[in-house]
Amino acid sequence: MEQQIKSERWRRVKQIFQDAIELPGAERDAYLANACADDPSLRAEIESLIAAHEQPGSFMDTPLFDLAEGAAANPLIGKSLGRYRIMALLGRGGVGEVYKAKDTVLGRDVAIKVLSSDFSSDQDRLHRFTQEARAASALNHPNIITIHEFGQDDGVYFIVSEFIEGETLRRLIATTRMNESAVLEIAIQIASALNAAHEAGIVHRDIKPENIMARPDGLIKVLDFGLAKLIEPRPIGLGVNDTEASTLDWGRTGAGVVMGTVNYMSPEQARGLVVDARSDIFSFGVALYEMITGRSPFARATVADSIAAILEKEPPPLAESTSEGGEAMEAVIRKALRKDREERYQTVGELLADLKNLKSGEAVAAFIPVRNQKLPGAIKRRWRAAAMMLAALAAIIAAAVYFSESHRAIESVAVLPFVNADENPETEILADGLTEDVINSLIQLSNLTVRPRNAVFRYKRRDVDPQTAGRELEVEAILIGQMSRRGDDITISLQLIDVRENRQLWGERYQRKFADILRTQEEIARKVSENLRLRLSSADEQQLAKRYTDDTEAYLAYTRGRHLWNRRRREDFEKAIGYFNQAIEKDPNYARAYSGLADCYIAMTTVGVIAPSEGFPKAKEAAKKALAIDNTLAEPHTSLAHITWLHEWDWAGGEEGFKRALKLNPKYETAHQWYATYLSAMGRHEEAIAAIKRAQDLDPTSNFIGMDVSRTYYYARQYHPAIEQYLKTLDMDPSFNRVSDWLALSYEQLGLYDQSIDAQLKAMTMRGSKPETVAALRAAYAASGWKGFWRKQLELTQKEARERYVSPYFIARIYARLGERDLALEWLQKAYDRHSDYLVVLNVEPLLDPLRSDPRFAKLLQDISLAP
């Protein structure tokens, strides 16, 4: 009882307080006097709360977390920058903070460096920096971090790069003792990165262990090319004027920034002179020294002392702090650390050569006995000789490992559409067909990821270099080719390129008779797999040797059919069917041609060109024929499975079919995609999401799969991700309107009617609805709201249904929205009578929720054996 009174009072306190703080001061008093007229203690309580509320800046305003991050730090974690969701702070650098983030479009982890406003407010500086960093990111070297994007969101500038799992060289130096050969492993990679950059005319300017990352697999990545331009201090010594450096000043960047970097400065940097590539060599030498000894050669108690040491002092002999590092290593480091840059290695290429010599135990160019140094004692010398032998031995073993590592098999490849070198459009069809067949042969191989047709055909007629394509498609190798035909002679030139190292793995020119095209295709697939150094299983061997027809004309007709089918246009399906039939006529045992027929009929049915009762049986017949000829083809198994559940409502049979297809070819994206729609309808949402994501992994570029991702989330009632995916799909292809339906439905479920209607009307316009129809719908919504809109839509849909096949299911859904339970159920029954395939989602469609309690609905579920 007492409790009740208390909570009632508290409810009043809250209510009055909340109302009061919304009011301006003058009205507030009157309001309080009125609201608490009967209870002065209530008024006192509320006034004290208001006073607390109005207290300026109390700790409660910022979450514990923000305080921890520091007042100046930004509360970015959990927020989004562009399409990136910020997950965690990784560290702070001279120009800003680095976060781990998720790329919501590509689903991968990235690192984001957010430039602090100090730097981003200077447009000129920003421009020079992005220019240089862009140039560096174009280097595409395995030891240089890959920059994905320079972005800007609401005035915040950021750089998106690959996320590197691993630790900085700084940490590595602090936590592990490295022997000479371990140091060389790292040093050679850093030098290779610098070499590539210097050859492209880019100087790093800020080489230090903090800017070098080591991955657990041993791969080294050099970060932050070009960034140094942002923080480089104004000349501090007896400065020769450097136009570039002098645009920056100490005051703005603050001495703290320089503190961190001074130990790795070259003497010319410390003097404020113009720097060139040789400055990087010096900084690298400092890092190398530190890797060997664990200590920095010029670090002193104060910045001034450190700079003095850089300018004047020779680094202490390695032997003072470690037994690692032989005389040859010492010589290399000393040559990198010469005060006078004319005496240093003149290019990092020379330094790289010496590091490699060290590794292989050969004499180094830097090796000149240093006169000024005391010779080590005899005992030390003997010990050193032993250590050197050990190091050489380790280097040889490491080299062997490294060698086999760099020649390991390539695990992913993309075949770019072969270019038609003639003007003849027939050759084009042939070139496309050949490309597709090579893809199909390779895709069957067990140890290789091959980008599917739809992913690579975006590159058709696009002048793109293999490196860019390789990066975009996330593969290690690219196959490019061109083809021409003169009468009966065809010429095909091919190149297989390792895009990681930009080197050609294989290239060949084939001059063949047209009649030999089938054998040529096999030969190409085999050559490619050989040159990727794949180890083929006997099943793989069989796949490569497999030929689906021996009839060149049948092959040509089939290729034409596929070409049309791939365009997925209503008007092309009919023609594609004609070509597939032609192929079958030439070779009645051509399983793939039957499979093509099945695909066409299914597509025509699902886009509504023909009614299910016509399309599905035809598709089934074709798929069965294909399987009768070749039971190992995943495609017809997939088609058959789809028909089995979608049309025949045989749930168990459908699933079995998908599983069989996926066992035959786990990389067949359509099987995963259609299996996902099945799982979704069965209410197995998690599995459905996993399946559709797998399809998307296999073909990240497919709009149709993207649409089905949205659909899967919709049925799983996860409307936010459904909308997110829609936006991604639209991002890839703004003209793809089919996904808008799922967007509209998702908005509807969230109660966002304005947005839902916008999406629907936009989709209708893109599909070619008359402007007056769209206007009428918009007017109906404006005049009589959500229900008014659907009443108008109902009218229009019923009119349309008199002209062409419209699934009664759609009409049922509209009645459900309008709250017309009886009519909705009546139309669902009609959908059942006409065997509409949409009924398969009866159990999961949110719009039908109001009908679920009705016995007629239960009966319907029973009729299609979907009752739980």
Partner: protein
């Protein structure tokens, strides 16, 4: 047996879809991981004693959960649950320190970052916790809101999702709770 990230993710999704059993299975796992990390953190930072509770929660989230299938609602649930655990860990720690100081002052945890903070804020966590307990007796929902906003750094929208109420409600309740706690602590 330790569940894999996939299992944890599945539990999280199941919980988001209303399966309370999944929640019960999940909590101890989150707690263990949070406590482990918090300990490591406190050890590492003993001298300056800087704590980054939300950063810890994020770290645990990243460690435990397979990110790709997780939507933002599930994420909000995770952070909502972690907020209570984080509070527990922080208070336990503060109390242990106080006990160790043989009845000295209540533990004050400095929540500032050496490099960047301009204002050094000191918060008496134990007093805050006492006040929060009192508030919870009057209004349990407000207690949860404070926990999530303050100990886990969730936004209004995320708290709304985790509690299954409208954002406007969270906003209103938060302003009352904040005023109430301020008043309580200024006494």
């Amino acid at each position: 047996m330790t569940p894999t990230p996939e299992e944890i993710t599945r539990m999280l999704i199941a919980w988001n879809q209303g399966d309370e059993r999944a929640r019960d299975e999940l909590m101890p796992r989150i707690y263990d991981e949070l406590r482990r990390l918090a300990r490591a953190h406190l050890r590492r930072e003993r001298a300056s004693h800087t704590l980054q509770p939300t950063a810890l929660v994020h770290e645990v989230f990243l460690r435990l959960v397979d990110q790709s299938p997780v939507n933002w609602q599930s994420r909000a649930h995770f952070f909502g649950a972690a907020a209570r655990l984080m509070r527990q860990i922080l208070i336990n720690h503060a109390e242990a320190r106080r006990a160790a100081k043989r009845g000295g002052d209540a533990e004050r945890i400095s929540l500032s970052d050496v490099d960047h903070s301009t204002v050094k804020q000191e918060i008496d966590l134990i007093a805050l916790n006492e006040a929060l307990k009192k508030l919870e007796r009057i209004d349990p929902q407000q207690g949860r809101i404070v926990e999530m906003r303050y100990f886990s750094g969730l936004t209004i929208e995320e708290v709304a999702e985790a509690l299954g109420v409208a954002p406007a409600t969270v906003k209103r309740e938060w302003s009352v709770a904040r005023a109430w706690l301020r008043r309580e602590l200024s006494h």
